[in-house]
């Protein structure tokens, strides 16, 4: 038996269909097409069903990976979906945007062969199956408020509802989903997929109140003292765009990646003028930064008709924080990479529109705190390049609106919320998780934090009830 499996596993990873780059740069259709049932079964059969599955150590929400894969191998797709949903309320999303290569797949025993099991693709495949019938749990254990309907808040809400709490989520935008809706583009994560998973969570009895900015319409204290919420989970994310403070940064044609992506994704400016929110797109677009956000912005600009779209990054390709897959997709689509370049000034005309970028060339020095080699400017190497649009994708800061209103919740020097390992903040009954605690990170880490906090909240409320 074992022998057979070992033989099977020598097969290489099953490829997934992708849209042709020449076609996809003209639309917002999803690039990665997902496995067919045959492909999924084939890939699932490669799994060694390890007795001590290392892959699970890499999954922040502890999905029972070998079990769900085995169910796929046996063509029990519905059961596979059920298995995943025991731990993960957003499988279709994670299967698409989890950095699997750094998580579950990194820990898979087959990783050393260079062909780890494609866990993320299998998860995405299974997520399409499974019954829609969700039975609403009896909710008699108490009331919990969740602030922010991103992956952290949604996960905490779903888990608490399953435990028997009545949960209300307050979200400042007119749609739930957080970065999944306003940040990550349609061609990587269709909004329909996100909404379907949110609807599943609503079926658990979770109430989502949109257009509610906590800290403005109500404070955390009011939620707890006047509205009877026994605990509050804060998952407000890291949504504040950073700028470099350069001359010319307020010229027309300079966007934060957040604004550009929000206009396109949440407000659907790619369907302008059917949808009424406009977005400006240049012919020559320069995106500053080297993370997933920068790749998303550059690829989006191309799809909106930019003739040239380039990434301007101050280190080299190896140091780019974006997922390898995203960098490859960007390259295939014709995004140009201006590496070891750092902008020093944005140039404009008298009407206030961008005309170019002044950059300085960089070289790599010694490694810094993050372990990456530090970029150092080469003196006197400034040069100008043409650009009629500049997008700043150099990171985001934590959202402070709620915190300005709740000084008892202590923050770090970076503005993130201080918590212990299960998410308890310095204010009793208030827990936090996701980007608001870690700074900009990943969907799955935010979900893991939401999950841990849900358990801690349950323990907290039960211990109070006992007294």
């Amino acid at each position: 038996m074992l022998e057979v499996k070992a033989v099977v596993s020598k097969q290489s990873r099953t490829e997934m269909e992708e849209l042709d780059p020449r076609v996809r740069v003209n639309n917002f259709a999803e690039v990665a097409q997902g496995y067919t049932p045959e492909q999924a079964v084939k890939e699932a059969k490669r799994c060694l069903q390890c007795a001590d599955p290392k892959c699970m150590e890499g999954c922040p929400v502890q999905i029972d990976i070998p079990d769900f894969i085995e169910l796929i191998a046996e063509e029990k797709f519905d059961a596979a979906a059920e298995k995943i949903k025991e731990k993960n309320n957003l499988p279709a999303i994670c299967g698409r945007v989890c950095p699997q290569e750094d998580q579950c797949e990194l820990k898979c025993v087959l990783e050393s062969t260079g062909e780890p099991i494609a866990i993320g693709r299998l998860e995405r495949f299974a997520a399409n199956y499974g019954e829609d019938e969700v039975t609403k749990p009896v909710q008699d254990k108490g009331k919990v408020a969740v602030v922010g309907a991103g992956p952290a808040g949604l996960t905490a809400a779903a888990d608490l509802a399953k435990m028997g709490y009545k949960v209300t989520v307050f979200e400042s935008f007119h749609e739930a989903g957080g970065v999944l809706k306003y940040g990550i583009p349609e061609f990587r994560l269709p909004k329909e997929v996100v909404q379907e998973e949110i609807d599943q969570i609503k079926k658990l009895g979770v109430e989502i109140q949109l257009n509610k900015v906590v800290g403005k319409i109500k404070s955390v204290d009011e939620l707890m003292e006047q509205e009877g919420y026994q605990a509050v989970f804060v998952g407000t994310g890291a949504g504040l765009p950073k700028f470099l403070g350069l001359e010319g940064e307020n010229l027309n044609g300079v966007y934060s990646a957040n604004e550009f992506l929000t206009r396109v994704n949440l407000m659907k400016a790619y369907k302008f003028p059917e949808y009424k929110t406009p977005v400006y797109v240049g012919n020559k677009v320069a995106v500053i930064g080297g993370g997933n956000v920068a790749m998303d912005a550059a690829r989006t600009a191309l799809r909106l008709g930019a003739e040239e779209s380039m990434i301007v990054y101050r280190r080299s390709r190896e140091q780019m924080p974006a997922r390898e897959e995203e960098i490859e997709h960007a390259e295939e689509e014709g995004i140009q990479f201006q590496l070891l370049r750092n902008p020093t000034k944005i140039l404009g005309n008298e009407d206030g529109f961008v005309t170019g970028l002044e950059c300085i060339k960089m070289e790599l020095g010694e490694p810094d705190d993050s372990g990456r080699r530090r970029p150092i400017a080469i003196e006197g190497s400034e040069f100008e390049m043409d650009a009629d649009m500049v997008i700043m994708a150099i990171g985001q800061n934590p959202n402070p609106i709620l915190l300005d209103d709740s000084p008892e919740i202590e923050t770090t020097d970076w503005g993130t919320i201080k918590t212990d390992e299960v998410g308890q903040t310095t204010k009793e009954g208030v827990f936090a998780g996701g980007d608001i605690v870690t700074g900009a990170a990943t969907v799955i880490e935010a979900m893991g934090a939401g999950k841990d906090a849900a358990e801690a909240i349950d323990e907290y409320i039960q211990s109070k009830d006992d007294n």
């Binding site: 400042s172 935008f173 007119h174 949109l210 257009n211 509610k212 900015v213 403005k216 319409i217 109500k218 949504g239 504040l240 765009p241 700028f243 403070g245 940064e249 307020n250 027309n252 044609g253 966007y255 934060s256 957040n258 604004e259 929000t262 206009r263 407000m267 659907k268 302008f272 003028p273 059917e274 949808y275 009424k276 929110t277 406009p278 400006y280 009407d351 206030g352 959202n399 402070p400 609106i401």
Partner: protein, 282 residues
């Protein structure tokens, strides 16, 4: 959904709506604004909370038709409802520490100015108001200001009512006689707020303006509302919308407002031809 309980036409192309929103009414203060998305495909449009009634649970907005989205809002009737309203946003305006203030409004600016005047008067300040408009029929809420103000001056561009000319003419006259005021609050078109600020700078008189920048989220998440204030970049939605008029880079703001001019034309074109698009959009 946010139901319209009353709609009035205040002037050509200017409408007043009273909207049912008890939670917002309970929290609204002078200086707050809201963001309204009328229908599914609409833009998010920032509007000042022009008044509120905590007991009735209603808030008031006054909207001027300047482009597609504001027209779309103005096409709504009593009994219909707006899809999304998020509020209160921005910072309330400080009105407690003043004894004598001049409040200046240009055109539609009278609506956002009104709650500030009301709050100043509630806190015991003596308010002199200057209302300006292109012509007499474009003046709004004159009676409301008359009730609250110590003195009320009117200026119209064509002289059809009050003094002929700009509000700054009246302001200059007032200040040249007596400049013993604590502050000037000016709300209106960018060019008018700039002119008022330039004038009061000569008298070294504190001046507060309220900026109507472009916005998307209204919570500090996009940076689309950037404004240079005293060499620093601020976000109008979370740092304002009121700022020290002597520190604001108005030229930059005027340029930024022109950002989407081409798109505005495109929307207009898209809706010419009377396919009933606008009705459909509802």
């Amino acid at each position: 959904m946010y139901e319209i309980v009353e709609k009035n036409k205040l002037a050509p192309e200017i409408f007043h709506f009273e909207v049912k929103a008890p939670e917002i009414a309970a929290k609204a203060q002078a200086g707050h604004f809201l963001i309204l998305r009328a229908v599914e495909k609409a833009e998010r449009i920032p509007l000042t909370i022009a008044d509120y009634d905590r007991e009735q649970g209603t808030i008031d907005i006054v909207v001027q038709e300047v482009g597609y989205s504001s027209q779309q809002i103005c096409d709504f009737e009593e009994g219909e409802a707006f899809l999304d309203v998020v509020a209160p946003l921005g910072n309330p305006i400080e009105t407690e520490d003043y004894d004598r203030v001049i409040c200046v409004a240009g055109g539609l600016g009278a609506a956002p100015l009104y709650p500030k005047v009301k709050s100043l008067v509630d806190h015991g300040a003596e308010v002199t108001t200057i209302l300006g408009a292109q012509r007499a029929e474009k003046l709004i809420w004159e009676d409301r200001f008359a009730d609250l103000s110590e003195d009320l001056y009117i200026a119209t561009d064509d002289g059809s009512r009050g003094t002929e000319g700009f509000v700054t003419n009246v302001l200059e006259e007032l200040l040249s006689e007596d400049n013993d005021y604590d502050a000037v609050i000016a709300i209106g078109p960018m060019i008018m707020m700039q002119a008022v600020s330039d004038l009061t700078a000569e008298y070294d008189l504190k001046t507060i303006v309220s900026l109507n920048t472009l916005m998307v989220d209204g919570t500090g998440m996009c940076g689309g509302c950037r404004v240079t204030v005293g060499e620093e970049t601020k976000f109008a939605c979370v740092d304002g919308p009121a700022f020290d008029g002597h520190e604001v880079d108005f030229e930059e703001q005027r340029r930024r407002k022109k950002f989407y001019e081409e798109h505005e034309e495109e929307i207009e074109e898209h809706h010419v031809g009377g396919e009933g698009c606008r009705v459909q959009a509802k």
